[in-house]
Amino acid sequence: MSDTSHGTGGLKFDAKKRTWPNEINIFFALIIIILIFEALGQALPYMNGQSFLFDTRDRFDSIFNEARLRIIILQVSIIGIIALGVTQVIISGGIDLSSGPLVGATAMIVMSFAQTELVNGNPNPKAVFGDWAFDLPVILPVIVGLCFGAFIGAINGSLIAYTRIPPFIATLGMFLICRGIAQAWTRGKPVSFPTEGYAALGKGMAPVFWFLALAVLFHIVLKYTLYGKHTYAIGSNEDAARMSGINVKRHKVRVYMIASMLAAFAAIILSSKNLTAQSGMGIFYELYAIAMAVIGGVSLTGGRGSIVGTVLGAMVFGVIQSGFTYIKLDAFYQLMAMGAIIISAVVLDKMRQERAASRT
């Protein structure tokens, strides 16, 4: 029934205009970075030819350097959980700077509900509350932590959605507030000695399991659910989203709540893994989480990015960090190099976007 004279007359589908998934670029970047470190390991005189990720010695069956791989993935897991939330915030066109201090505050609060009464037969020397707060079932501190995260996220989101102050300012304020809460909670003293059940949450490779499970969950949520679609729509064109009948304000509150709950969950896993909570926990985490997302191709202008990208970005981040240690680069230079890499990632992404725009 449609007449051929109608339509977009003569415009042919151009395969070159098809968008090449950005995740593949990041995957290649990951491989190239690994190869660079391998090459450096062979080339640098003081390395004695030892390999970065491969194991060439005979006494092991595996060809990989499993110990290093394990450290890399364990290192990125906890910040990676935060990055999953930050990814959603950035896709929606915002930014969340409060996640690092939120980790500190949540860890302090949660740990004080997770303490055990007797440490090696002696009373817990770091007790925060009285007897009632000892040896509580593990679900309780977890719920307290997630509620605290949701509460902070709701404040962030409401400030941004209803008072329309820039997300940068709202979450910067929350950054200081959370760091303050973390210090005020016990006047700066650490909280230690959790119950066995609580300690099991972050034991061994458990953080990796949580990270990957949450990554799969939020990959599905962002790609296949209404929540995900609206997150992309708002980040892509907020006015269009509003005109289309999406409740933009309510949605923003949801996004920030989920991001803060993920940061709170990361705090639970981190304090469980370390068996202690300190007010200084999570320093720089918000920036590292943003860096993982940005390296993973999440656009700071909103609307673009994916969980798969962020997971790859987290791996790139971990590999670079571990690689610097491997080639024995001083910690000071590591920070500088990391900063340079983050800036280059954004510059590259911008150039890629502009190239795509000039094609049309």
């Binding site: 029934m1 449609s2 007449d3 004279s5 109608h6 339509g7 977009t8 007359g9 003569g10 415009l11 042919k12 589908f13 151009d14 205009k17 098809r18 968008t19 949520v221 296949y224 659910t225 209404l226 929540y227 679609k229 992309y232 729509a233 980040g235 892509s236 064109n237 006015d239 269009a240 989203a241 005109m243 289309s244 009948g245 999406i246 949605h251 949801r254 609307g303 673009r304 795509a356 725009a357 094609r359 049309t360």
Partner: protein
């Protein structure tokens, strides 16, 4: 069953002391295509904004599909069946064609999941294909994101919404103002397709050639008032220009301005 789809009686809008729209009486029959013309600031867009609920009228009555209506916002109007193609495209660049067509009214499954209910991509793609076929819009790959499409294709996507959702009335506010020659032709072809299918349309346009090519009737606004209601057959370009500039005023609108 009446054959009038939209009627306004004494529709009036004041912005403070500015009389942007004064006593507009207008009717649109089912299947009819009407153009609204007039100089900048003549009240065309104000008129459209009152009908689509973007603004609240000062006075007057709007009867849509036999019912007096009062839309609280554009979303209400859309729910009632008035689909508007805005001058600035209300499209999300990073999303693909079905996503944009269904923005804000996605098809979902597993609805008990609330905000986390799953999108029914398959059904939306199918409905998109049907809608595009109905309007004669050809887009090579509907799963490409909008940002990689030409201006004409983007405008076509915006227009294809109307067909996809079986709207009762389509309003286009200068749909081709920003398009090239070839792209304008594409959009005009879609408008012809809508005409064949009996979809009523209000077209706000400055393009005399386009108006004479496409519509049945021309309404001219001047200084907030309707000054002419002309059947295409009874008029010509010079005549319409005379009404727009104020050299002439329609007999039944004497004293209008």
């Amino acid at each position: 069953m009446t054959d009038t789809i939209l009627e306004t009686k004494d529709l009036t809008k004041y912005y403070g002391g500015v009389h942007a729209l004064e006593g507009a009486n207008f009717t649109l029959k089912k299947g009819e295509h009407v153009a609204i013309m007039g100089d900048n600031g003549a009240g065309k867009s104000t008129f459209v904004r009152q009908i689509t609920g973007v603004e609240q009228r000062t006075r007057g009555e709007i009867i849509f599909d036999g019912q007096p209506v009062s839309f609280a916002g554009p979303i209400d109007a859309r729910k009632a069946g008035i689909e508007t193609v805005f001058q600035t495209l209300a499209l999300a660049d990073a999303l693909d064609v079905p996503d944009n067509l269904f923005l804000g009214r996605e098809m979902t499954k597993l609805n008990w999941l609330g905000p986390f209910r799953f999108l029914d991509y398959k059904a939306m793609r199918q409905a998109t294909m049907d809608g595009l076929e109905k309007t004669g819009v050809k887009i090579p790959n509907i799963r490409n994101s909008i940002q990689n499409m030409s201006g004409g294709q983007r405008q076509c996507v915006a227009i294809a919404r109307t067909a996809t959702f079986a709207s009762k009335l389509t309003i286009m506010d200068e749909p081709t103002a920003a398009l090239g020659v070839q792209e304008t032709a594409q959009v005009e072809n879609i408008i012809r397709t809508l005409k064949e299918q009996g979809e009523p349309l209000i077209l706000v346009s400055h393009n005399m050639r386009q108006v004479f090519d496409l519509v049945d009737r021309i309404i001219v606004f001047r200084r907030g008032r309707i000054v002419a209601n002309l059947n295409k057959e009874d008029t010509d370009g010079q005549d319409v220009v005379a009404y727009i500039t104020g050299a002439k005023t329609g007999a039944e609108f004497e004293g209008a301005a």
